[in-house]
């Protein structure tokens, strides 16, 4: 494994007009390996999404005599 930091080649990113602000300028295999290892140990609970539906106003909007 190469722990030396390498300069990321920016040309392909620039050619695709990708914003280099999002690019990692230096890459270390060690860092990548570490992130892979931590990803493997993540234990996510089942994804749940909750949406609150509002089926009526909190109070009467008007008071018709009906």
């Amino acid at each position: 494994m190469n722990d030396e930091l390498e300069i990321l080649v920016l040309d392909p990113l620039l050619r695709q007009r990708l914003p280099i602000g999002f690019a990692r300028i230096f890459v270390s295999h060690a860092i990548l390996d570490e992130s892979k290892a931590s990803l493997l140990t993540l234990q996510l609970s089942k994804y749940r999404h909750h949406t609150t539906f509002v089926r009526a106003a909190d109070k009467p909007i008007s008071k018709p005599e009906l």
């Binding site: 539906f53 509002v54 089926r55 009526a56 106003a57 909190d58 109070k59 009467p60 909007i61 008007s62 008071k63 018709p64 005599e65 009906l66």
Partner: protein
């Protein structure tokens, strides 16, 4: 253990009325609002001063200050508070601060009324303006078949993707439509939260429950209420009855303490297209085609009606239901007094009696005076 024994063993304790159980003083009767359970209990107002004593004196001190006969009544009152779970006996009242009485909303406008009779409005412009104002609820009240079920569906479609979360309709009956037509429109537009059909041939309710129960039931249930009664005009609004009282909640009580229950953050387009606080209010702020709703809603003249609190209204300020009543500022018992009580309220807080507001002396004359005022030239 009997309740008397409980009280006698707790003489060194304080009576702590839970912070979500709010005593409200009235003239003949006072009330406790249970903000968590959404219920209101009433009791004779002579007992109201006890709540002040509860905050400063221990139970033994309070009981000691009364005669033997009054002590028996006081114990009955404590039994009432205890059996309804409004209170607990505690050693120290310090750790129980009151619920802050503030109120705010994410949008400048919360709800809107659109009245339609003989002409359509620029609904696209209105919806766009309501969206930019953060309006969440819209009610359309139609007095003719010019605006019917199909238009309500189209309006709901127009509101999709905006801040508007619910659209309600009050429409005249269209004999050519079947129950399926109503249900098809309601189920196709989930923003349609309620539909009342007036001038129908019979009183009935069409309801589809989809088997849902509990809190999710109202979210999926489709209900169309049909009534034989006719909503002929904006004058057929503003009725206040016991059944119209709000179930108390922290949000509702805080709003009604600080703002007007009906007009706060409301904007309306009347049947002629004029912008008003409410379609039946005398003052117009211009035609919706000529003025920007956002500018009208931001003006202090428009917002001044939002701050007419129940505590400032004659008679209402002595009513124990004042923080559960959404009020009406369009039809007043005395049209010349801005702080007059609503004409269409039949409750008398000085006798604790409900009656029909139509039986009031000059009720019909007063209503026709209000109608004439609405038809005056626009007051800018």
């Amino acid at each position: 253990m009997s309740s008397d024994a409980t009280w006698n063993e707790s003489l060194d304790k304080y009576v702590f009325v839970f912070t979500d159980c709010v005593p409200v003083k009235g003239s003949a009767a006072s009330a406790i609002y249970d903000l968590t359970r959404g219920s209101i209990s009433t009791f004779p107002s002579e007992y109201y001063p006890l709540f002040e004593l509860f905050r400063t004196r221990r139970l033994g001190q309070i009981l000691g200050d009364f005669s033997e006969e009054d002590r028996a009544n006081l114990r009955d009152f404590l039994d009432f508070l205890s059996s309804n779970e409004y209170m607990a006996l505690v050693d120290d009242l310090g750790p129980f601060p009151e619920i802050p009485s503030s109120f705010n909303e994410p949008g400048l406008i919360d709800n809107a009324i659109i009245d339609v009779r003989s002409q359509h409005h620029d609904y696209r412009k209105i919806v766009e303006a309501l969206d930019s104002l953060g309006c969440q609820h819209v009610q359309v009240r139609s007095y003719s078949t010019l605006f019917g079920l199909r238009h309500l569906g189209e309006l709901a479609e127009l509101c999709r993707g905006t801040s508007i979360q619910t659209v309600e309709g009050v429409l005249p009956h269209e004999p050519s439509l079947s129950d399926d037509d109503y249900l098809r429109t309601m189920s196709a537009n989930r923003l349609l939260a309620g539909l009342t059909v007036h001038s129908a041939d019979q009183d009935r309710t069409i309801r589809v429950e989809y088997g849902a129960s509990g809190t999710s039931g109202p979210l999926v249930t489709i209900e169309v209420r049909m009534t034989r009664r006719k909503m002929a005009s904006r004058l057929d609004c503003g009725a206040i009855s016991r059944s119209e009282l709000l179930a108390p909640s922290t949000r509702a009580v805080n709003e009604l303490r600080l703002f007007n229950g009906c007009l706060n953050r409301k904007i309306s387009i009347d049947e002629d297209g004029h912008v008003r606080n409410c379609p039946a209010m005398a003052r117009s702020f211009g035609h919706h085609q000529a003025v920007a709703l956002t500018e009208v809603a931001s003006s202090s003249a428009f917002q001044s009606a939002w701050r007419i609190r129940k505590d400032d209204i004659q008679v209402c300020r002595d009513c124990q239901y004042r923080y559960a009543c959404t009020d009406c500022r369009a039809f007043l018992e005395d049209p010349d007094a801005e702080n007059s009580k609503p004409l269409k309220c039949g409750y008398d807080p000085y006798t604790d009696q409900w009656s029909d507001w139509r039986a009031k002396p000059h009720a019909a004359d007063t209503l026709s005076r209000h109608e004439q005022r609405i038809r005056l030239p626009i007051l800018q």
